[in-house]
């Protein structure tokens, strides 16, 4: 069972001026972080349950909390996976998805089953992140207001180079016209 009250309680506790301003001892700061992390985990179960209900399946759903340091075991090891984007805002969002991957060529299809182009791959530089994957898969995703979109990612041949059509500088990029939310 997912439960958002754990995070609500943790955020309530973190209204203390110490938590806001950082004027607490280290072990107290660590405990604020521990409570928030527990609340975060419990909310992720809630979101996963909601998505499973909407999808009518019991498929495992995975959250990669280390994307900001390019760590995501599922995208790094699985040749075929789905990315679900949930948009909590009241307007369409276009969102750059950047996932650590091992292979060098992927096909991405959008919620209507159409190929998402362009798909870019970049080799991660030394200081790019802590993860082990040598590369990152980039594609532009989008999601309707208070809604979600699913994008399917399939690894093509592992060995070929990135099919990154260069983006001629100065040429306005024509974003895909996606159905408004």
């Amino acid at each position: 069972p997912g439960d958002s009250s754990v995070l609500r309680e943790a955020v309530a506790v973190a209204q203390h001026h110490d938590a806001v301003a950082g004027t607490e001892r280290q072990h107290v700061a660590d405990d604020y972080a521990r409570q928030l992390a527990k609340g975060w985990d419990s909310c992720q179960v809630l979101v996963a349950n909601a998505l499973s209900l909407l999808g009518g399946t019991k498929e495992p759903l995975v959250f990669c909390n280390g994307l900001n340091i390019s760590v995501c075991p599922l995208s790094e090891t699985t040749p075929h996976f789905t990315v679900i984007l949930y948009n909590p805002l009241a307007w369409d969002v276009s969102w750059p998805v950047r996932l650590p991957v091992r292979a060098t060529s992927y096909a991405v299809t959008d919620p209507q089953g159409r190929p998402v182009v362009p798909v870019s791959g970049v080799t991660r530089r030394l200081w790019g992140g802590a993860g082990g994957a040598p590369g990152e898969l980039l594609f532009q995703a989008w999601a309707p207001p208070l809604g979600f979109s699913t994008f399917e990612v399939k690894q093509l041949s592992p060995g070929s180079t990135w099919d990154t059509p260069g983006w001629p500088s100065g040429t306005p990029w024509d974003p895909p016209r996606w159905p408004s939310g």
Binding site: T23, R25, P60, L74, L85, W95, P96, W173
Partner: protein
Amino acid sequence: EPEPQIENEHLRVRFDPIMGHLLEIQNLAKGISLPVFQSFYWYNASAGDGLSPQASGAYIFRPDAATPVPVAKRAATHLLKTALVQEVQQNFSQWCSQVLRLRPGQPYLELEWTVGPIPVGDGLGKEVISRFETPLRTAGRFYTDSNGRQVLQRRAHLGTPGAGQSTPGAGQSTPEPRPTLLTPVPPVQDQKVQLTVLTDRSQGGSSLQDGSLELMVHRRLLHDDNRGLAEALDEPGADGRGLVVRGRHLVLLDTVEASPEQHRPRAQEMVTPPTVVLAPGTGPHLRQP
């Protein structure tokens, strides 16, 4: 490239080919271009001195000198251009790097900074800032917003009357909960330009020189400030070598009139970004509710 730059349909951003720093931001649609220099510095944290035994600490920002030290004179850079992103990766030092990105359709420049572990082998606590410098004549004033609820005018108080130079210190730093705006103080008629910096978390900030804006991104101190904690603000981080912090600043350049409409939605997207959930294989076939 002799003239390294990144560009999309909204902005063109130029870099210094020798020093690797940000040089200029151009808003192509409005025909605005503003020289913007940005780099990282650190203030030497005071351990108490002849003036006052007060050390810099969790409660007090008290640098040992008014002028911060540059993290590096120049940045080693790598330029990357793909169909989906153009970025300049800057490496200032072993513990300070940044990626500046433009994506198609994105009317702002994203600066993803990574700072830490801050070295303290020299026995000096360090308070790291990211500083933006522009020729905007702002008369020592800048503006901060608090989640779109209240834009306040802030002004560097100049200490003793007549002192032209304002110095950093607790009194100068204001909490920047959200956008920090640098715009000329009306009615400077020839300046209709606003530079807005969106932060992804609360940071201390100030504008100590006309047209400049500095945001404190990380601190590592070695002395307790004698306000009750009885420990220095020195977070060990996951591996005990000192906390590494990564965050983002979004920089928007527009007219004063058009800026609020630009930065408000961006701030909300920063606070409540889309949730990315992954599933193996074709995943659940989700129906739109």
